[in-house]
């Protein structure tokens, strides 16, 4: 029996196990929307702006490990997806974006709502397709999902002209893909693994830097085994947070620009670095020439192009992190590294990095800390970008696998709310907290309507300091306190929430924080808390931009340590 292009696409989505589509309709994609009711197993969530659809699909993908799907019409619908697609690309998130396109006879004629979206997204997708023949559509859907989730995951765009949705073809969903140019290496090379094991076994001061690749590969147990067996301290990248329990005795937190001072000191002092599923981003390395000056680097990554791209590597191992670690662990000799660990613990004591200073007013760090305490860490945290993101990374103790979702590579303000929505749709039984800044929140605030219409019970904490805080911090520290275009007025967020139909509270004092968080947790549906925090609080530690990781500002001069508020797991408080 022949099916229409729209039906073939839906059949393909069903076969790929898709349950949710985040989208926004329009003229060119209307035949597909008209077909959706025939497939009730595909839940469509109507966003309020296509950027929200792409971020939601990304958040869904990161929270579930499944491919997230978003769709939009041609022209502006498609271009509105672009930021979200780029965001998914930089953070290796498996997303399939489907766009309507003008009918084939109109392509290239500057028709109404025509834009060359496959051309536009060329550098920000793992691969993309313009479907010119309905007969090729089933194979393209199959390939798109395969490419999105295998190897180094990434976004795939399928651009379908309106008349291809209407054309008919026999539907045969392929069982295999034929991609001669795409064969990801999964097993690490045994000789390289042997070399790596030798380096690790001989190391005096080994250090693991773990990234999001560990999470994507699901190599939590293998990473833990490696660390414990050879007593190797573990630091993570921002996106690696949640790949190793932060309350573990071998965990030394996040490295990089706003990483823990002791984590960066460990990088500086290490003699062997085992970099696992990470890509030496400049925010993680600081000045590359000053990065890990004493270390031989073992780099394990599934993407061969990441090896040696930013940092020279002694032992490259291309492969899937889980498989490589499995093989490597068999060759690792149990050791102690007692002195080295003692050194790190000393540094951790001397440079605690997550101490919250004594302050009358409400500090953002305190808010994050209390969200951690009330949730007992049983939550997925989805952040915006900037100060709120760094405080959320620093002051919540991530023990659960994959419990932080954040825009790392692209640094997309406005990611927080739609991504949290996607995460909650994917994990309805898990508490999802959206940690937003008052700046970023206003970029995608319209998705509050989606949250209400689709009954998505996200809890929203706005860290409201009346500034574009991270930019202001840079202006304060490096631009002579000239606050150009960073003071920011916002609406009354509680009233805004109320207008959308979401209950909310404003919190100004420390004593109100915990009751407000509890109230949010008790509420069945979404809830918003507007935390009015100290306006000029800065994120510390901070590595001076463009400098090595050792060039670290640990805090304002007047910082006073309050010992009991240092970051510790709940059980230790």
């Amino acid at each position: 029996m022949k099916l229409t292009g729209a039906q073939i696409l839906c059949e393909g989505l069903v076969k790929e196990g898709v349950e949710v589509i985040f989208g926004f309709p329009g003229g060119a994609i209307l035949p597909l929307y008209d077909t959706l009711p025939q497939y009730p197993q595909l839940r469509h969530i109507l966003v309020r702006h296509e950027q929200g659809a792409a971020h939601a699909a990304d958040g869904y993908a990161r929270a579930t490990g499944k491919v997230g799907v978003c769709m939009a019409t041609s022209g502006p619908g498609a271009t509105n997806l672009v930021t979200g697609i780029a965001n998914a690309y930089l953070d290796s998130s498996p997303v399939v974006a489907i766009t309507g396109q003008v009918a084939r006879p109109f392509i290239g004629k500057d028709a109404f709502q025509e834009v060359d979206i496959s051309g536009i997204t060329l550098p920000i997708t793992k691969h993309n397709y313009l479907v010119l023949d309905v007969g090729s559509l089933a194979g393209i859907v199959k390939e798109a999902f395969y490419l999105a989730r295998t190897g180094r995951p990434g976004p795939i765009l399928i651009d379908v002209p309106r008349d291809v949705f209407i054309d008919q073809a026999e539907f045969n969903y392929p069982t295999n893909v034929d991609l001669p140019g795409y064969k990801p290496t999964l097993q690490g090379h045994p000789a390289q693994i042997k070399k790596a094991a030798k380096l690790v076994n001989e190391a005096q001061r080994p250090l693991i830097i773990a990234g999001r690749g560990v999470i994507i590969s699901g190599a939590y147990a293998e990473l833990k085994q490696l660390a414990e067996m050879a007593q190797i301290p573990v630091v993570t990248t921002l996106l690696g947070i949640g790949c190793f329990p932060e309350s573990h005795i071998l965990s030394f937190g996040m490295l990089g620009m706003h990483g823990m001072a002791y984590a960066n000191m460990a990088v500086e002092a290490a003699d062997v670095i085992i970099a696992i599923g990470m890509r030496f981003d400049d925010r993680a390395t600081g000045k590359v020439s000053g990065f890990a000056p004493h270390a031989s680097i073992i780099h394990i990554d599934i993407d061969p192009a990441e090896i040696g791209k930013n940092v020279p590597v002694a032992v490259p191992i291309v492969g899937d992190v889980k498989l490589v670690l499995n093989a490597l662990n068999k060759l690792i000799i149990s050791t102690g590294h007692v002195d080295w660990l003692q050194q790190l613990e000393d540094w951790q004591r001397e440079h605690p990095s997550t101490v919250i200073r004594d302050c009358e007013g409400l500090l953002p760090q305190f808010v994050i800390r209390k969200i951690y305490e009330v949730t007992q860490g049983e939550a997925i945290i989805v952040t915006g970008v900037g100060q709120n993101q760094m405080w959320a990374a620093q002051h919540f103790c991530y023990d659960k696998p994959n419990s932080l979702i954040s825009s790392g590579g692209l640094g997309t303000m406005g990611f927080e709310l739609p991504a949290a929505m996607g995460a909650k749709v994917g994990c309805p039984d898990t508490t999802v907290w959206c940690i937003a800044g008052d700046g970023g929140f206003q970029m995608t605030i319209q998705e509050l309507a989606t949250v209400v219409q689709e009954k998505v019970a996200v809890k929203i904490a706005i860290i409201n300091n009346g500034y574009l805080g991270m930019v202001r911090q840079w202006q304060e520290l490096f631009y002579g306190r000239r606050y150009v275009a960073t003071p920011l007025s916002g609406p009354d967020f509680v009233k805004i929430a109320e207008a959308y139909g979401i209950p909310g509270l404003r919190v100004r004092r420390k004593a109100e924080v915990v009751p407000a968080i509890r109230q949010a947790m008790e509420e069945q549906g979404p809830f918003l808390i507007d935390f009015m925090v100290e306006p000029e609080e800065n994120v510390f530690p901070m590595v001076t931009p463009g400098e090595a990781l050792t060039e670290v500002l640990e805090g304002p001069k007047e910082t006073k340590a309050v010992s009991d508020s240092a970051k510790l797991p709940v059980s230790n408080i």
């Binding site: 496959s118 060329l122 991609l179 140019g181 795409y182």
Partner: protein, 171 residues
């Protein structure tokens, strides 16, 4: 150290592949000296020869990035290999009755051909490596080069093929 590298890529013969590769060069900031695309011995694969100047590390990064393009089946750097490299040029040179025979002599020495003769010009076709074409050009410049087109380098390793029909590398 910057040297000239020759990369050979086998790519799927699909629409947009050249754009993907050109876009990659631009985005990653690689400057290519020449790129030649044409059919290969395999029906669904095109063969590209890319010449690029850069350090070994930079070219290796380019090779890996190229290899990541889904439609690129195989890329190899044949710079260090024993290979035949050729370029074709068509050169239209000003010629008068008094200079024509001198031009023909030069063309003969270079084993090039004259493919068109007009009252005031001749068109020379020459095949060879870049140096040969460069030297012919410099000799002909004195007569006035009116028009020139060069193909850029194509290359192939000597002896056994690097790439079998299956697309697998033979080592």
């Amino acid at each position: 150290m910057t040297t000239k590298h020759t990369l050979v890529a086998l790519v799927e013969d699909k629409p947009g592949v050249l754009t993907r590769i050109a876009s990659l060069f631009r985005r990653r900031g690689f400057n290519i000296e020449s790129i030649v695309v044409g059919r290969s011995e395999q029906p669904h694969l095109s063969r590209m020869t890319i010449v690029i100047s850069g350090s070994t590390a930079m070219v290796e990064q380019l090779r890996k990035q190229l290899d990541k393009v889904i439609n690129v089946v195989k890329v190899f750097d044949i710079t260090e290999e024993d290979a035949v490299a050729r370029e074709l040029a068509l050169i239209k040179v000003g010629a008068t009755s008094s200079t024509r025979s001198e031009i023909i002599q030069i063309v003969d020495i270079f084993r090039a051909n004259i493919v068109d003769v007009a009252s005031d010009s001749v068109t020379v076709e020459v095949t060879g490596d870049e140096d040969k074409i460069d030297s012919l050009c410099s000799l002909l410049r004195g007569f006035g080069i009116r028009e020139m087109t060069r193909t850029g380098r194509i290359a192939m390793t000597r002896g056994r093929p690097r790439v079998a029909t299956s697309g697998e590398t033979i080592v």
